[in-house]
């Protein structure tokens, strides 16, 4: 986990979409929102899940590894940057390889775009746009110590399980204290739909 990073707490998300609007204002992808806000069970639940780039550390940036054009750079501070505009060929390898479903692609422009942790802001010590506007603190930017000072007793996890595979990330999720020693389930593989085993 990076020193200063985003901590996601889906339990606090009210689905207001303020993060989605604010993300559009980010100078590095002005006019286009890179954050995803998904309603996990629409019609049945108001639960929503904000997803920013998790900035995978181990394996390091699968999106960059599968890129055939070496277009995705991981900077020394662990931030996985969006595709270099002169190199990206719009193949969508990164879009489909990402286990978190983060990168977006503009097929007309042949260009991948993704959350880069608002590098124009975070490189200067400012919080990303989404964390700046989130009214409930579902997206918190800072160090773990700063988070715990503000929310005593809170625990976070930066490991995700996709079947047998573990992915460690630079961005972390808030988890209950009794779950902190476990990786957060990545949701895949799907084992059951409506009580039917689909494995």
């Amino acid at each position: 986990m990076m020193g200063r990073t985003i901590f996601i707490d889906p339990g606090r998300c009210i689905g207001c979409q303020a993060c989605v609007s604010a993300c559009r204002e980010c100078d590095s992808h002005r006019g286009k929102s890179m954050i995803h806000l998904d309603y996990t069970d629409p019609g049945m639940s108001v639960a929503s899940l904000p997803t920013v780039c998790m900035h995978c550390e181990d394996p390091v940036a699968p999106c960059a590894e599968v890129c055939p054009a070496d277009a995705i750079l991981v900077t020394a501070d662990g931030v996985v940057q969006q595709a270099d505009t002169s190199r990206c060929i719009g193949c969508a390898n990164c879009v489909n390889a990402c286990p978190f479903g983060v990168p977006k692609i503009d097929l007309q422009a042949k260009l991948q775009m993704k959350c880069n942790l608002c590098y124009d802001r975070t490189a200067y010590g400012l919080a990303p746009m989404c964390a700046t506007v989130c009214p409930t603190g579902a997206l918190f930017y800072g160090t773990l110590e700063e988070l715990q000072a503000e929310r005593p007793g809170v625990q976070v996890a930066d490991s995700f399980a996709f079947g047998d595979v573990m992915v460690s990330t630079g961005v972390a999720m808030v988890v209950p204290a009794d779950k902190v020693q476990w990786p957060v389930p990545g949701g895949l593989p799907v084992v059951e739909i409506n009580g039917v085993d689909v494995r």
């Binding site: 550390e57 394996p59 055939p68 070496d70 060929i89 390889a97 479903g101 595979v165 476990w182 084992v191």
Partner: protein, 377 residues
Amino acid sequence: MPEPSETLAAEPPTPPPPSVPPRPAEPPLTGTLPPAGPSVTARATLAGTLVSVLLIAAIVLGSRLLRDFDSALLPYAVATVFLAFGVAYRYTVWVSAPGARRLFKKGFGSFFSAANFRKAPTAVPRMIATYLGFQKFLGARSRSRWAAHQLIFWGCLLAAAITFPLTWGWFTFTSSTGSGPGYEMRIWGFKVLGFNALNVVGWLMFHGLDIAAVLVIPGASYFLWRRMKDRGAITGQRFAYDLLPLICLIVISVTGLLLTFSSIFLHGGGYEFLALMHMVSVVFTLIYIPFGKFFHIVQRPAAVGMQLFKYTARQDEEVFACKRCGEPVDTTPYVENLRGTMQDLKLDFNAFVEYCPRCKRVLRGNAYLAHVKKGFK
């Protein structure tokens, strides 16, 4: 009617085994791919040497055993040999990485496929024209960037088409009268064109590089201005990668134009100094091409192969649908290719390519709800 209660459950997470060593707090994150192994380096060196030797042979033969070779242009010719080595070396290293290697095979496979040609005979020329020539995709990003890039592209193409054969001794311009105005243009010693240096054709022939410079300067200047003003472009920009290529193009173009200015208006004043400046900037740029932003010139044609690979699969209606929502993910051969790339890279979650990005996020959200924190439902 509400959506049926879709209980999408993931396998319950298990605690990591105690034998798993703790992850280092600061993993080395300096690159995207492991460094090339010794076999890749050896192959790349071999490819670079081979291409360089072939180019030297082509220069010697094309200049009629150096009879047409202009020794004043020797530094330029030597730089092109280094360029050939660097491009072949870097290209070999590049296509040795799993993602690029598979794309390379699929792209060239699609390009040379007779079946594809029968199915879509116009696809290749159309893609080359729209993608490599007129770069329509850049217009979708920004019209002004497209216009500026077109100026640079056609200017550089014109300059390369003139200067490379000239420095190799492949083109010669000779006058039977010694001082003109009647000139002959010869390629590999064969006369292809006779023209009067004082008419329009002659002017265009002798000022081709000035025209190229006039095209490149506004295009490169626009990009340089943008890199100083546009906060999106400034984000994460690096001097050597983003600014230096533009400065190189402008220096080459301006010193080139100044050579013409010197010969017309200064009676050759300062010509030698300018010629040296121009040569140094060109030689530096040529040697820099394989290692910086200019390498996209070499990489970009891979995009045509990739587009063709997907296009031909779509023609056959080989579309892979998301296993959960049924929305198309991409073409079936593409999904198989990506899974193969991920297997090569030991990314063992390659089976999840079969789900669309949104379903991956929703499934993860539901797993979080079910197994981590039920409270927010």
